[in-house]
Symmetry: C2
Subunit: 492 residues, 2 copies
């Protein structure tokens, strides 16, 4: 049962007078779920509670926090079909996707729970003097964290997603600003977290879940002196605004924002010569996966101007039109997709390759366009991230121009090189250049699909993320919320 | 031979028309060393060169960069007595200190050189699929780094100090803004780096050394698009200004600034009961060490109001007056010391414990004052860092008030607890509270003296440093200049 209220520590609260509903993009109607906008006083209470909970939470043993994380996973499972149907109603995504993403969310929670049972996670470093420990360095938590849920991952990167799981593992209380597009899904997950916190005897205030459609809540949270770091997944504009607020505080705090990426793909003549149609089919799938609403969705394909590239572009365009169009997360996202797509298509030298098709309401029309490297170098707007199934093919005159295009790309989450293995000695310049712009470099694959494991890195040079030195995915993401302390001369 | 010129990559350049000299604080006269202010065009050239050098430098092997670091150490040694005498002339510090600090500088350079010979430093993490490596995560350099030399460490935290050594180890070119108080020392060290770079075949632009007395150079450097991170050691005001510029860039970049700290010390009644005089003597030494010009100098001592504390304060004041007063680094530093000291002594309830003594020119009069916990809680200005031999004793009514004082302290590099071992069960609240405010917690010792080793951490919650998650000292300081990248599906 969705409460529609704000969860302030252990208490449900709805002192506000403004309400909002979520939206079902498939039916193009509002849902029945009503939420009360949180008030500034309630926000203040949540921050104070998080601060007082921190004192107790940071001194819970690793085992106790591990049990808390396991309990959250269990309670989310206990939500059963209601969670899945709410997810589907509020996102327009399929039930299969809901089940898959829930699986990933549970896996993340349990991975961090497992991590805590091996004390190596604190990265202890010891210096001895006279056969006794003189210096003992280890990681400790920063303090209360604010998490901004992602529109495109209602479970895995929202209420109990990667940011929350890693923060709890670190020993940091969490305040979630629920994503207003799937506040009902968030409401249910918040209930699961509260149950788990009570079951495992966690302090009041270790978790709060706040609802708002506006941006003022985010500003108030990031500006609150009790908040010590921020996790954000979303747009460059939103992430940068939070970075600026955090940097301007009396005590600046770190913001880890995972923002935009066009995930450039370089495809060589040799690869086009031997496997053009294969890659065209692969990329038709990758571009439309999840209606192109993944941060790793490939939005830019670079090749050398040639008949081979033209033929690849033609096949890609045909293949992509064979795929049934699908629903976007929200009318606002559909609107932004249409607007930005139109803007890019109006730029000089941009040629549309896919035919126009009629799509209903919030469905996205997948689109492939082409532009010359010369135009792309002159006009950076053709390289902007467009959230949705949209890809620009850039045909470059030669390798020099192709590398020039890479060099002036914004920072990216991923980059991909499609080439023959035997070409390796000849593409070192491309590999070296692309490496400088990305957090993950893929050889002969697609960028969509991010494995959750210690060897994964999800982040990249700005604006892909706010700080390229940290990752949003994988166990190392816990490092965002930890700092070192040294104990010198302490008895064992 | 001091050139007095700016080193722009491989070239000495002095296009500017403004000159300045350094100062000998002992003789209270300008030195004979004349430096030409760098021009904006020269700065631009240095940044462009660093950017082009980065392409080559990042692809040098670990062994090659290791040889570069060893060569820098060797060339600094080759500077011989000229370096030591210039250091002494420009800083007023002793020759023994110069020799010691040079030793530390060489040790740092060689430690990073050694680190590079063990590939573990790249923290590779691997994920296999079908018995072949699927994901390979490793650390790569961020790009050109700007280093701001410290006034109080003309060698170990300046031109070829910890920031420069760690950046070179990471694979980042370095541009040093030489500290204008010891520009001659920096000039000599820059020559040594250039020799080492040429000997080991490093690219033109891997290093530049720029001279200016003004703050405009720093702004231009941090704002230059080719610069990807900043290392700074100095005042809160200076560090924060650079943080703000870096955060406001189109592409924000990380700043690691090691700024201010008063390094609070808590001394228990039990410790005062058994070893009061011992600790009074220890702290008299620690407070005056290096004329109190260490970032770890103890500026705040907290105890419970009692005859024991009064007696400790009396002995400390007597002991500290027995120590011969010593010279500060520069008249500007002496002036600031006198001004801030006066300000604090004029605050309500602040009682001076040391007698007044006459000191010549740039010598510092060591001073101990006392204030109640109640006043300290009302008036945070008594807890500000005063660079020099000045310490405030805060006498608290009870443990509750003492913890309240700790809780509202700014972030600190270090905190110290002086107690009997048997007291451990009773001081957990103090340990827990102090832990939250510091980067290093010392038991029964003094905070001055920072061992350079992997288990050291030198940094702390803001404003002790700009980002508590990184350290300025020890091998882990290299993490400031590195980011992760994943290679997915690459052939071996």
């Amino acid at each position: 049962m969705i409460t529609g209220k704000n969860l302030i520590g252990d208490n449900y609260s709805s002192n506000g007078t403004t309400e909002f509903k979520t939206f079902n993009p498939l039916t193009n109607e509002e849902t029945d779920f009503v939420f009360t906008e949180v008030t500034p006083t309630e926000v203040e209470n949540a921050c104070n509670l998080a601060n007082s909970a921190f004192k107790e939470f940071r001194n819970k043993s690793d085992r106790e926090r591990s049990e808390f994380l396991f309990a959250i996973a269990e309670e989310i499972e206990n939500l059963g079909d209601e969670l899945l149907s709410t997810y589907v109603t509020e996102s327009g995504l399929s039930k299969e996707r809901a089940v898959g993403e829930r699986g990933r969310t549970l896996f993340q929670l349990r991975s961090f729970a497992d991590m805590l049972m091996d004390s190596n996670w604190r990265e202890e470093t010891i210096e001895e003097k006279n056969n006794t420990v003189f210096l003992r360095k280890k990681l400790i938590p920063l303090g209360p964290i604010v998490v901004f849920g992602a529109s495109n991952f209602p479970l895995a990167y929202s209420t109990a997603g990667g940011d929350t799981a890693s923060a709890f593992a670190a020993g940091c209380p969490v305040i979630v600003k629920a994503h207003p597009m799937h506040a009902g899904t968030g409401d249910l997950v918040a209930q699961a977290i509260l149950k788990a916190a009570k079951r495992t005897n966690m302090p009041n205030g270790v978790f709060s879940n706040l609802n708002s459609k506006g941006y003022e809540l985010g500003i108030q949270l990031v500006d609150n002196e009790n908040i010590k770091a921020v996790g954000f997944t979303g747009s460059i504009k939103g992430g940068r605004a939070l970075m600026d607020i955090a940097a301007a505080r009396e005590e600046p705090i770190p913001v880890f924002a995972e923002m935009g990426s066009v995930n450039p793909v370089v495809i060589t003549q040799q690869a086009l010569n031997s496997k053009s149609d294969y890659w065209a089919r692969q990329y038709a799938q990758s571009i439309t996966l999840g209606t192109g609403q993944f941060c790793t969705s490939p939005g830019l394909i670079l090749g050398i101007d040639s008949e081979l590239l033209d033929s690849f572009a033609t096949v890609l365009s045909k293949e992509i039109m064979k795929i049934e169009s699908s629903c976007m997360l929200h009318p606002a996202i559909k609107e932004s997709f249409s607007k930005l797509k139109k803007e890019v298509m109006e730029q000089e030298g941009v040629q549309r390759l896919t035919t126009s098709s009629s799509v209903s309401n919030n469905f996205a029309e997948q689109t492939v366009v082409m532009v010359s490297g010369k135009e792309a170098l002159k006009n950076k707007s053709v390289q902007q991230e467009i959230f949705g199934p949209f890809t620009v093919i850039i045909k470059c005159q030669n390798e020099e121009e192709l590398i020039a295009v890479i060099d002036q790309l914004d920072g990216q989450l991923t980059g991909t090189i499609i080439a023959e293995k035997k070409e390796f000695p000849y593409i070192q310049n491309i590999i070296d250049a692309l490496q400088q712009r990305v957090g993950r470099l893929i050889f002969n694959g697609v960028s969509t699909g991010v494995e959750v494991c210690p060897a994964m890195h999800h982040g990249g040079p700005y604006p892909a993320s706010s700080d390229a030195r940290f990752t949003a995915v994988g166990l190392h993401s816990v490092r965002r919320w930890l700092r070192s302390i040294v104990f010198q001369g302490f008895p064992e």
